[in-house]
């Protein structure tokens, strides 16, 4: 199957799911209702129509768009990191990038910076994500193998997790604790267009950086020396992927909290279909990530009934067993 066809299929599924996501909820809406709500208003609206319009444009649409944006970010960042590190186990979450981004955001919440300026929380999340990616990059540059890299990722995760726990531990009052914990669980609920406006530039810049690395990631299939002999500057490539990942993951984490395993699972599922091409995997994983996150969000709203399940919890509940399955299934030779 050609790569274009796979992307087209993913895109079609994404469109259908987006529509479904706009339709389901406490107030079920038909496709006609949604179309009417999205189109410019014709004259005076009835109270029902006005209410439907509010539900679609102010509650559900931001949620759908954010799911797509964050899913695409996590999916592509995972694919790019796996390409750069030449390792199917690489993932922003597994390597401590997400945990570090969370730490940045939590520190912002803890010290109350988040209330001072809207931009401080995403900035802190992205800086910490960049710092973590930089550490990983230094580990890789010293010629460390995959095992060392994953150990370094675990160490980073543990450190960021411990500091996050410390912030919760020392939080002056219970509301702060609740704010931090709820935020950490990861969610797309109650997000507005303001949140989208906040992260869109960073996510787009990050995606563009990662996309521009495609051909070089392809060359890296051959190993570092042969890639360099083809004119690839490894230092530039690493810098682009590190920065792109930090922007994507940092920005995503800053609005939705920690959502794990999308970056690991999606490239895995699609790699074979795109012929193992690291470059082709980038776009496919972005679409696949958006699809997965949107699907998880719809599912969660369908099954959770009265109370809101947290999205990050659900993706980890699905992702972690899947990851275990991958580890068990993979032959030893492929892992190292």
């Amino acid at each position: 199957m050609s790569c274009m066809r796979i992307n087209a299929m993913l895109l079609a599924a994404l469109g259908a799911l987006a529509l479904l996501s706009l339709a389901v909820g406490p107030v079920p809406l038909s496709v006609g209702d949604i179309a009417q709500a999205l189109l410019p208003a014709q004259g005076e609206l009835s109270e029902t129509l006005q209410r439907q319009r509010t539900i679609v444009t102010e509650i559900r649409l931001p949620r759908v768009l954010l799911a797509i944006l964050v899913g695409a970010s996590l999916g592509m960042a995972g694919a790019a990191l796996q390409g750069l590190l030449r390792n199917p186990l690489a993932e922003p979450g597994l390597l401590g990038v997400s945990a570090s981004a969370s730490l940045g955001a939590v520190l912002c919440l803890y010290f109350g910076f988040a209330a001072i300026n809207l931009w401080l929380l995403p900035a802190a999340a992205m800086s910490c994500a960049a710092l973590a990616t930089l550490v990983l990059y230094l580990v890789v540059r010293r010629g460390a193998g995959n095992l060392t890299l994953i150990l370094a990722g675990i160490a980073l995760s543990a450190l960021a997790g411990a500091l996050t726990s410390l912030a919760i531990n020392l939080a002056p009052n219970p509301t702060d604790v609740q704010d931090i914990v709820l935020w950490l669980l990861g969610s797309l609920a109650d997000r507005s267009f303001d949140d989208i406006r906040l992260v869109l530039p960073f996510v787009l810049a990050g995606l563009a950086l990662l996309l521009s690395s495609g051909r070089q990631l392809d060359a890296l299939t051959l190993g570092e020396d042969e890639a360099a002999s083809l004119g690839v500057s490894l230092a530039h490539l690493r810098a682009r992927v590190v920065l792109g990942t930090a922007l994507c993951v940092g920005a995503s984490v800053s609005v939705t909290g920690a959502i794990g395993f999308v970056g690991l699972v999606v490239p895995h599922l699609l790699r074979r279909a795109v012929g193992y091409h690291p470059a082709r995997l980038l776009v496919a994983s972005a679409l696949g990530g958006a699809l997965l996150l949107l699907a998880a969000d719809v599912l969660l709203r369908l099954v959770s009934g009265g109370f809101e399940l947290m999205l990050g919890v659900v993706t980890a509940l699905i992702g972690a067993p899947f990851f275990l399955y991958l580890v068990l299934r993979q032959r030893l030779g492929e892992m190292t």
Binding site: T221, G223, E226, A228, L230, Y276
Partner: protein, 258 residues
Amino acid sequence: MTLLQADALTVRLGDALLVDAVSLELGRGELFGLIGPNGAGKSSLLRALAQLLPHQGHTRVDGAALDSLSPVARARRIAYLAQGDHTAWPLMVRDFVALGRLPYGREDAGERTAVEAALAHMHLEALATRRIDGLSGGERARTRLARALAVEAPLLLADEPVAALDPYHQLSVMELLRRQCALGRSIVVVLHDLTLASRFCDRVLLMHQGRAVACGAPRQVLTPAHLQQVYQVQAMHGEHDSEPYVLPWRCQPAAAHA
């Protein structure tokens, strides 16, 4: 006519001197062997020639100083095949070979013909749509060579391309390299097999502890004295089909000889 000219290449790693002022010159269509025991500095010299290692000394290809060229311009002049197989993902053979076209950018009019020619040279047409992880060791070695040929660079640097291959594939890869030279390409190849070196190479450079010990026609370089001094072995020298062979026969440490 000279294609490659390297002057006093020196590679240091910390305090260790890996390559000590080695110079070499290579003509068009020449198959040039780099030989020497493990740790002699062959791979370091090759990587320095490919500009993959920080080094002192100058290299010119086709008259152009390599350090004055952009990485892409350099990549179009030198194809490099690393020692060992580091392939990360099991691409399809044709896609894998096409990676050699990276220096030509996205709008590469020559890609199709270059890839098909490289596949044909390495007798891989029938395997073009197979995945690389399903190939035998010999087929994989030929695929990696085809990737390097697809660069269409006048100079190919290959680090032990026949290591870990059975005798049939060792000979077939060497014959394929020979044929590339007949087509005008120049090749520097690192070899451990002295018979392959003496049979197929126009000239060889014998290295020992980072230095060039001797350079010239295989018969002049692979002498009993050199083999004893550098490899510490005694070898059988002979001729078959009027071509020379060298068969290492027994260890002969320097002390025992003295």
